[in-house]
Symmetry: C2
Subunit: 555 residues, 2 copies
């Protein structure tokens, strides 16, 4: 009995911002009963994962131990916390617990992937709790940039853990429960073993600002706008969407929601009672007959996504509506690192149309959803945990957060994905490393990030691709000349002859002088043809392409 | 005679930040004598130009009109102004004029590309001038983030133009000439027809800060650092490099320059007298035997470039020197949009080593090299030009700058690349559009951005590449089965059989049922095989790959 232990194992989200997945376990070593907190995705990019549709944490460890898994708890509905639920549920097969708004979104995600949506269980906020093996878990309301974010109060035989999820300390959040310091103090008063805590904004030294501060500024902006106003933000930021819509309404404008996610989120918020009211909206068809100065669009695509409504408006038209010279476009958002170029492209397209673009560079029209450094300190002061485990951050965030915690006299540790911690003692102890990584959704197939598929794509993108085709007869004699196909390569190089001609000549010459032993040996032949093609290309065009060799034998 | 006109034509740099190239012409329409101001590059990225080594403006128009070209003037030594000089000089064949430091760099660039470096002519600052056809051109000193930036005073029969180049209004620039408002007023007092002006920081509403403000902060930081200090900045920012080195020296540290560009720039600055002194530097070999707390590294790679010294140190080692727990790394720089992820990757690698990373997020350790909005206004007040032509900016910058100028009662216009303006009258007049674009240096070959080469690479990166190989005998009958090679695609799809087997079976089945007419027709056969491969893959893996078809006929 005394050999039971409490463990923490991040499979995603620790050492990166994205694809959150945290495992807790309690029991004898190697036989701990487990729960999973969050099951999110991260987004692909051209630089590291071209062609990939979504990125998941590698769930192999959990799948291998699924007989020990009791339940999945989802803190909130952001994609990096909920996005993988439909993609992995069939491999895990346990109930999914979430609050109403999050559960609404989770059920859609289950249905999208053909999974049984009744496996998603709606739970109420603290003091309601759910038993899951040795764990008792409650959702403690906390403010964030999406409704109904819940910190988890995880009671274990070894003590109470508070897993914050994503949070900020907002006492006037517009939508959803305000941060309630008295409630948090009450929950913490009998002692908290570990605070497992959001690290995103640990480098932001000012106190966080409330969602309530942006409304008045937005209203001033809309009132001053001479023509149509369009505004974008994350659709899941229902408070912001409401603020924008109400500001538009007060300025005498009809509100039109554009983009599927925008309509979906408002719908989910109304269905679940997170929103009790929302300004009347008009359809894009109705909007077309409303004078521009009386219209306000709320559109998806604040991160520059090419297929979202914002990008379409910037390129010309979306749902029959066009922007014009004199219109105003508001980015009520922050650009996530990596998305800068996409957002800037859109801003310039809007500029070409003559649209005045307003963003948050002056700090008026957006506030962060994460706790800044002073707020993290306040959280520690309220909860007064024995130890702090930084999560939801890149290495630099985790390290800074651990240093901050230690400076306040609390045990802490940097535990990146795959680091299993034992929390049973007075300080977190690294006990094991589990292999973790990324799984790519590529079309409809899941592939490992290290499988080489994406590496080959990147190589073709950087170097181009040459296909060498050689046919040998029954006596292993070349039948005709070598033939090459080029893809992604210049047609002509330094000799001013077509590159394919130059390569074919060099390859055919080689075939002419190659010995019978080489011609009979597929591996040797391929290796030689590849080398010649690469070197010949290097001389002609200054780079060595990827080469595929196809040897056909008529035997 | 009265039909002579003065024209301005940006071939690069207007509607983007990068690859600057501006043409001025004077004379009868279509026979204007020309000069080129700057001939820069821009950098490729994985998203739009994978595998490309450098990006140049499309110089076709100028090459077609090179008999009318008199000279090239280079305002300063940044790559986006000087980087293409060696790559295009042989197609243009006119003298290149620059001040000493810029000329030193330009000669290196000419030699690197096998061009005659004596074609680069060193000129002195204003009041010295150079005749070039109908133009008389002088280099008016202006402060920027590289030594000896020169605005050009371009006298024409139609009046005086001031082309600012890149600039800020710095009266204490540490290295090089201070901005001298009296000199600028004197040059402008008899009237300036057009101010062609840097637009980069038109959205920055605070006054620009002097280079002199960063030194004291940097010195404080270095004095407080317990172990080794490494700092990175653009190597060409010689003033910053000097400030960093002197701060290190005053803190009792030996200075070690790491990275070729860092050594090259200090060398060029000393050779040309831009620097008259620089702290004694030690070699990396010597540095290894110096106690860490007495050492300071100045390293290249502030933008996260994978092969630069900073990235190598973050990955482990450069020139035998390693960073350790407790060292300090300073980014005395701003991250250029698009480079965020690369820089963040390095910061996290440094964090893993235990290095404390300091950047400019608090605004202490870097100042911009470009004039902010109030400085642009001050420049207009001093020069009092008849018209303002915004350049060196994306569309949004040019538009805002034109609006600013018009609000001050000056004629202005947004003229992006390819827009030929006539400046002869009282206001700029759009007179013609010239086809412009980008030329890629790919390995050793120049290719047009629209040639399709890079498009094919991007497609292979997004979709993977299937090669279909079919052999037909003398009677156009398939010889054996179809054969496929896959590159950048998952091995197994929904049917759990190897993807190549599935494709080969579908293709072979098609060959079996194909009519003689189809089999005899290369185009028809290819089209069918491609369609089947794509559809078959779509069913198996949920995406349609790029397909190359090779049909070999034994005839």
């Amino acid at each position: 009995m005394s050999s039971d232990r409490l463990i923490y194992l991040p499979l995603g989200g620790a050492g990166e911002i994205g694809m959150n997945a945290y495992v807790y376990g309690y029991g004898p070593k190697g036989k701990e009963r487990l729960i999973l907190v969050d099951i999110g995705v991260t987004f692909a990019d051209m630089e590291t994962s071209p062609g990939v549709d979504l990125i998941f944490p590698d769930m192999s460890w959990l799948i291998a131990n699924k007989d020990r898994l009791e339940a999945i708890f989802i803190t909130h509905g952001h994609e990096d916390h909920i996005g993988a639920v439909g993609h992995f549920w069939d491999r895990l097969g346990v109930p999914v617990y979430a609050r109403a708004f999050t559960a609404n979104l989770a059920r859609h995600k289950m249905r999208d992937q053909g999974q049984p949506d009744q496996e998603v269980v709606t739970v109420s906020a603290w003091p309601e709790t759910t038993k899951a093996g040795p764990f008792t878990v409650g959702f403690l309301p906390i403010s964030h940039s999406i409704p109904e974010s819940g910190a988890l109060v995880i009671d274990t035989p070894a003590g109470r853990i508070i897993h914050t999820g994503d949070f900020k300390l907002d006492e006037t959040p517009i939508v959803g429960e305000a941060f309630d310091p008295a409630l948090w103090a009450a929950v913490s008063k009998d002692g908290v073993k570990a605070l497992v805590c959001d690290s995103t904004n640990v480098f932001s030294r000012a106190e966080g600002r409330s969602e309530a501060t942006v409304g008045p500024e937005i209203e001033k902006l809309i009132l001053a706008a001479p023509q149509m106003v369009a505004a974008t933000t994350f659709a899941s930021n229902v408070a912001r969407v409401k603020t924008l819509a109400e500001a538009g309404e007060r300025a005498g404008r009809s509100i039109c929601l554009m983009g599927r996610a925008m309509r979906r989120m408002v719908e989910a918020a109304l269905e679940t009672g997170v929103l009790t009211s929302f300004p009347k909206v008009v359809s894009p068809e109705e909007a077309r007959s409303i004078p521009r100065e009386n219209l306000m669009l709320l559109v998806t695509g604040s991160q520059g996504e090419r297929r979202a409504a914002t990008a379409q408006l910037a390129r010309g038209k979306h749902n029959g509506i066009t922007l014009k010279d004199g219109d105003t476009f508001l980015f009520s958002s922050k650009t996530i690192p990596g998305n800068e170029k996409g957002v800037i492209r859109i801003v310039n397209q809007l500029s070409e149309i003559g649209v005045d673009v307003v963003d948050d560079s002056a700090g008026h029209y957006h506030v962060s959803g994460h706790a800044n450094r002073p707020d993290l300190e306040r959280m520690q002061d309220i909860v007064n945990p024995q130890m702090v485990i930084p999560m939801h951050g890149e290495h630099r965030h985790l390290r800074e957060h651990a240093k901050l915690s230690e400076s306040k006299g609390r045990a802490s540790v940097v535990a990146v994905n795959g680091t299993m911690l034992e929390l049973t003692g007075n300080a977190p102890k690294v006990t094991e490393f589990v292999e973790t990584g990324r799984t790519y959704l590529d079309g409809s197939v899941k592939i490992g990030a290290m499988d080489g598929v994406v590496r080959d794509r990147i190589r073709m993108a950087l170097n181009g691709h040459v296909i060498v085709n050689v046919i040998l007869d029954e006596d292993d004699e070349p039948l005709g000349e070598a033939w090459v196909e080029l893809m992604g390569l210049p047609e002509v190089g330094s000799s001013h002859a077509p590159l394919s001609d130059v390569l074919e000549e060099d390859l055919t010459q080689f075939l002419g002088r190659a010995g019978a032993k080489t011609l009979a040996d597929d591996d040797k032949l391929e290796e030689n043809l590849r080398r010649i093609a690469r070197n010949s290309a290097k001389t002609e065009i200054g780079k060595k392409p990827e080469v595929s060799v196809i040897v056909s034998r008529l035997s």
